[in-house]
């Protein structure tokens, strides 16, 4: 399996993603600079977290127009799995690969803490090692993490079973209290129509190491390795 991690100016979770990918794949992913228009042959493309272009203008807006993204978009449309984490999710929405937009958190503050997520479906390459309805713990670390789309789009996403994760409580209940950033319908992550592009605000790569007080994120990467092989 070959994975590529795209590095934008201001990406800062690129190394974290690479470390986890290496631990599950057994070899390091390619680190691809945003200015490159060439993208190596990849079975998985990861857009990492961080503050591409300082999140100036809008989070992810400028990175979405960097040279390498044209190639990422065309690979994604051709079916290559793409995982956008945090800033990577913001880039995916700005690039038009996923609908909606990530807005300022309802608290207006940066939020860094573990959150609980309900796994909405497990029939994708990203989630096959999870159970449907399982409650998992991933950290969030963002200021612009509140998912917004108009009602028609949200209805369509739900109708097409494209919600990947929702913020929930320990029992799996999707409540207003569990919705730490004010996302529409508690949405933490969504898929494209084919379930091959996933964008999510929480960081699965941050709890994928026994020394870091949790390993719920490991399953996502293990799922991908199994799905791609």
């Amino acid at each position: 399996m070959k994975a590529s991690v795209i590095v934008f100016p201001g990406s800062n979770c690129d190394r974290d993603a690479a470390v986890v990918l290496k631990s599950v794949m057994g070899h390091a992913p390619a680190m691809v600079w945003h200015g490159d228009s060439e993208l190596p042959k990849s079975d998985l493309i990861v857009l990492p977290g961080g503050f591409s272009y300082g999140d100036y203008l809008r989070s992810g807006a400028m990175a979405a127009h960097s040279p390498v993204m044209r190639e990422v978009v065309s690979r994604a449309r051709a079916g290559t799995p793409v995982l956008g984490i945090c800033n990577g999710f913001q880039v995916l929405t700005e690039a038009g690969l996923l609908p909606g937009v990530l807005m300022r958190n309802a608290t207006l503050r940066f939020i860094c803490k573990d959150v609980l997520l309900k796994v909405e479906r497990n029939d994708t390459g990203f989630a096959r090692h999870y159970q449907e309805g399982e409650v998992v713990r991933f950290p969030v670390a963002n200021k612009d993490g509140s998912y917004f789309a108009d009602d028609a789009t949200l209805d369509r996403l739900e109708g097409e079973n494209r919600v990947a994760f929702r913020y929930c409580d320990a029992s799996g209940a999707v409540t207003a209290d569990a919705n730490t950033n004010g996302s529409c319908r508690n949405i933490a992550g969504i898929y494209n129509k084919t379930g091959t592009v996933l964008g999510l605000m929480p960081h699965p790569e941050r709890l994928a190491d026994a020394a870091l007080s949790g390993t719920d994120g490991t399953k996502m990467f293990a799922s991908l390795v199994e799905a791609i092989h």
Binding site: L57, M103, L108, F148
Partner: protein, 81 residues
Amino acid sequence: MKARITITLKPGVLDPQGKAIEGALHALGFGSVDGVRQGKYIEVEVAESDPARASAEIERMCEQLLANTIIENYAYELDAA
């Protein structure tokens, strides 16, 4: 020419920053405040003297990058100076 571009959230899009500003204005005693929406203001210098061509250029900038038209509207004025 100089373009003065104003980017605002579309009506109906949640604006937590605007809400916070409204709350702060109320706290300061501005009881008449009946809604706040915040946005962005951007100045762009374009090396273009023809207003029609400059307008077309600015619109493309707004559509492609400066505004996210899912949630934002934009408006601009051109300034020959």
